[in-house]
Symmetry: D2
Subunit: 182 residues, 4 copies
């Protein structure tokens, strides 16, 4: 059976991040032929085109990790009705220099959890716009705007009440990657 490696990007650097917990829980719902590697985006410099020819070690590592993956999984909060700057900075780094966009052609999925009323809906729209430009074909449905609630997580990962919805999401994501990965 073909094995797939997925690069996971979590949009928050907070240690107790709900989105980190969601990413960790989601991964456990994946089948055995999928493995996941989280991209480290917290030690990247702020992107500056002047450094395109002399990228930092953290930037080279980011691009190598993406290049080694068959697909992308974005798990992100919404900051100020868009994606976090820290996530956009990582997207920008790996898209450059011009013509060396590491994200291109990697099938992607987007999900997010929020205590707020709209469940990261605006962030996800902006992220879809960016991923379209980056040529990363992004799963359309099912969408998942996860509201933080009691029991969403338990000591094993995703709580029982939320498992059916998230298992269904993961099943569609797996099929999307299998269909579109190069």
């Amino acid at each position: 059976m073909r094995q797939f490696t997925i690069a996971v990007v979590v949009g928050s650097l907070r240690k107790a991040s709900f989105n980190q917990q969601l990413a960790d829980g989601l991964i456990k719902l994946a089948p055995a032929h999928f493995s996941f590697t989280q991209l480290d985006i917290g030690d990247l410099p702020l992107y500056n085109q002047d450094n395109d020819a002399t990228p930092a070690a953290s930037v080279k590592r980011l691009k190598a990790d993406i290049n080694a993956a068959h697909g992308l999984l974005f798990v992100t909060p919404e900051y100020n009705r868009s994606i976090p700057g820290v996530l956009k900075n990582a997207l920008d780094h790996a898209s450059r220099p011009y013509g060396q966009n590491a994200w291109a052609g990697k099938p992607a999925g987007i999900i997010g959890v929020s205590p707020g009323a709209i469940g990261t809906a605006n962030a996800q729209q902006h992220l879809r716009n960016v991923l379209a430009y980056l040529d990363a074909p992004t799963m359309a449905q099912p969408e998942a705007y996860i509201h933080l609630r009691d029991g969403l997580f338990d000591e094993n990962g995703i709580g029982a009440a939320s498992q059916p919805l998230l298992q269904n999401w993961m099943n569609h994501y797996v099929a999307w990657v299998e269909k579109l990965a190069k």
Copy 2:
């Protein structure tokens, strides 16, 4: 006559940035009772909520500079069909911690220059969405999607052919700030 101080935010860190040149040229078109201070966003850390209680000196300086301003002027490129991560990171920093959003209530203008076909139009839409959430009332018209072209800049700033359009933009911006600044 009332004096107005404007905080300028340039979305690119590149030394020879076209948007930096646009910002520098635009400022020269402003009337004498407007003064401009550029925010330094290049030395900010990546935003991490865990540090909200112990902000870096660069973050404290950013918020103090915004607090001292009556209005905001965003001059930014488009990266990957959205605003640059470096700009979003600055927006995120000064919006936190919850309840201490430094951008709130500051009238804003948005402009950008690009060599590309769409002149930063997508970045400007995303930035408008963010500024609405941040409660910074943003000038609607005139929009300005500036295409980089020969003669856009000269040794004094904005070239003669582009001055009427940009002078008109600045005149509307000045009126917007005068009307809405606290």
Copy 3:
């Protein structure tokens, strides 16, 4: 005391529309110097530029009603993660022909109710983008993404539990119109 007339636009034609109920309830929270006229958008033809010189009676009426108003109140559902076509069709009609945009300069507020998870958040972002282009200065905060819930409405309009949030929204809207109406 100066009197203000507000043109109300409801984005759904459904008779029992929740957004129609929200509009009707909101209006009752306004002060006595504000009066409201709902725009009739259900009998407009589909916009076709070929008819700009010979507008239908319903189009002439729409533009006259907007011209007679000091401000705009949009109360709309989200259809397919954007604004309803019926609402966009009305926005398009009254924006034309080129140079005769009836929406220009009218201060606006946006609100919506939905049984869905994200409370019209995506529709509101798109509507903000359109209103910026149409030069209708749109209130930033407070946002209002209303989730349909038991007791949201009662026989008098807005139910008691939701009144504080919506009264606060209306108070800010009134101040926004008073400040920006021509």
Copy 4:
């Protein structure tokens, strides 16, 4: 060789529409195993959920035409920084009633032409958001923001100077449909 039928949606009703010309020219660049049928969206009523159980003949025809197609081709102007109301109205009609979304699963491409500075870039972003919700997997790259210019069209369709760009777009679109059509 498998034959593919594509439903074409033109976002303007104007007889001499540039986007209609673009659609007509593009179709000529397609290979022989692709055929195209333009959806008639100009005689649809304004969408009203109250009529879901008793759709007009034009609505039934629209959904039947979509159901008969393997893929979707959207060729649209930008109206007021979003998609035209007439196009959104058609998208809304064929997405309802709930659970009977005719667009679902049809691979899609988006293109537009404009005399304006930003080449329909904002309309295309909004349309991408809508199509993601409608579960129509939409080609990411190449994007095409076509600026109206002398020679874009000639008596045979697409003018010689613009053919390479548009032929490349069509080639990618064909591959996208072949890969994702059910």
